[in-house]
């Protein structure tokens, strides 16, 4: 999860929404793919961390059919959105560990329950609250900055970064 947080931090530094993901092979315990949110630079609202990581894994393979998705576990700093949850379930990932909930788009319980709704695809086990406060802190650092991409950026000079309620910070980012 710390590796996923590093990816999220990279996104933050590049002006992207700080969400990071890593895919780990269950047998070798090695990281096989990394991704971070990349929507702003690609002008594509679907380029979430999970998709970036999936494409990195596919790039390394000669044939897409060689990837054994069911042997991979996903670590992502924010609950996957409805789209990503559906994608991960269709590919048949073995498990998803995530940091904080995604109240606006979450597909693993927050908005919809795509991970376990009736479907021909195997259920996608999900568990949250891993390094949750660190994930929230990164998001707050992003939203406190003025969004240069918005048509009419709101002045946020008076905003302060709140950290008092994040009692479980395990590492300072």
């Amino acid at each position: 999860m710390k590796e996923a947080l590093k990816m999220a931090e990279e996104a933050l530094n590049l002006g992207e929404v700080p969400v990071g993901a890593v895919f780990v092979n269950n047998l070798s315990k090695e990281i096989v793919g990394r991704g971070r949110n990349n929507t702003n630079s690609l002008k594509n609202a679907t380029r979430h961390a999970e998709f970036e990581a999936i494409d990195e894994i596919l790039k390394k393979q000669v044939a897409a059919s060689e990837v054994e998705w069911k042997l991979l576990t996903v670590f992502v700093t924010v609950e996957p959105c409805v789209m990503c949850a559906s994608a991960l379930r269709q590919l048949g990932l073995s498990m998803v560990y995530f940091g904080c909930n995604n109240e606006r788009f979450g597909g693993c319980g927050s908005v919809l329950s795509v991970h376990n709704c009736p479907s021909k695809f195997k259920e996608l086990p999900c568990e949250g609250n891993y390094f949750k406060d660190e994930a929230i802190l990164l998001l707050r650092k992003f939203y406190i900055k003025e969004n240069e991409h918005a048509p009419n950026p709101t002045k946020k000079t008076n905003r302060l970064l709140k950290i008092e309620d994040l009692g479980n910070l395990k590492s300072v980012i």
Partner: protein, 300 residues
């Protein structure tokens, strides 16, 4: 031939449904309740209902007593004893205070709520007194019927898409992006995308990706002058655009269209794992930040 809008099931009269709710003892308990319950007992087809009900009772000594109730699930879906066991295992501790099965047995109550979302403000104001609800104007927006000229235009574009599918000679879903203002097809499925070996090579994702790539190229070409003017407003790529596909999109693609702020989608065939006609109706989820209209073309 006609076009059927995919809307939420609604009812003109109030139809009640019975649910279990937990009488909560503090706002702190309510917030941990929401976190736990929303994952294990999703509202799915009842997303118009709020999770928490707050009532204020005036006591004899003129003090207010606030009661909080948290929605769990339909009484037809779970047994009360299973709920008690579930809460005992997952929700039995609050600031060091432990609860036993008596606590939950007394505090799980039956409540009734409206089975369907309210279609107008008047109904909403009455129905929500039963149990709090969300209201979205979209239900009214979705009622605007298509006019005859639009219907003709839509069928003619769908016919073009059907011809394209025959031309490409593939059983896979094909689609196109259409600008209804300029009356122009801006992008359509091509041979390359049909042979793409990506496991998530659904036609809608491919169209979104291709459209983004074209946009980035356009951006690079027009780097002279004021970059932001006119272009950044378009950064949500499919704003005011229509998408035509032969088959209903899956949940992933339905949500990709929410992220891309599409205006309308038209399709012919529904699919087993579809995200629009099934229970989820991704294009109409009240708590998402964008909603689009979905239509099924019916050939008699």
């Amino acid at each position: 031939m006609h076009i059927q809008p995919i809307v939420k099931e609604t009812e003109q009269e109030l139809l009640k449904i019975e649910l279990y709710a937990l009488h909560l003892h503090s706002p702190q308990q309510a917030s941990s309740f929401i976190k736990l319950i929303s994952i294990h007992f999703p509202l799915t087809d009842l997303s118009h209902l709020k999770r928490i009900k707050k009532t204020t009772e005036l006591l004899d000594d003129n003090k207010n007593c606030i009661n909080l109730y948290g929605l769990i699930a339909k009484t037809s879906d779970v047994k009360k004893e299973d709920l008690v066991n579930f809460l005992l295992q997952n929700f039995n501790n609050d600031n060091g205070q432990n609860f036993d099965s008596d606590y939950f047995n007394q505090r799980i109550i039956k409540i009734s709520a409206s089975k369907y979302p309210a279609t107008d403000k008047k109904k909403f104001d009455i129905w929500k007194t039963l149990w709090p609800m969300n209201f979205h104007n979209d239900y009214q927006k979705h009622d605007i019927p298509l006019n005859d000229i639009e219907i003709q235009e839509i069928f003619s574009i769908m016919n073009k898409l059907k011809n394209l599918s025959v031309e490409l000679n593939s059983s896979k879903n094909v689609g196109l992006i259409y600008d209804p203002k300029k009356k122009l097809t801006t992008l359509q499925t091509d041979l390359n995308s049909l042979t793409d070996s990506h496991p998530l090579n659904h036609c809608i994702l491919q169209l979104i990706n291709a459209s983004a790539k074209n946009y980035v190229i356009k951006l690079q070409k027009s780097k002279v002058g004021d970059k932001r003017k006119g272009l950044d407003c378009e950064s949500y790529l499919l704003k005011d655009m229509d998408v035509f596909v032969l088959k209903e999109p899956c949940i992933m693609c339905s949500m990709a269209l929410v992220h891309s702020r599409v205006s309308r989608i038209f399709y012919v065939e529904n699919t087993e794992e579809g995200g629009l006609e099934g229970l989820l109706k991704v294009h109409l989820v009240p708590s998402l930040n964008h909603h689009y209209r979905a239509f099924k073309l019916i050939y008699d």
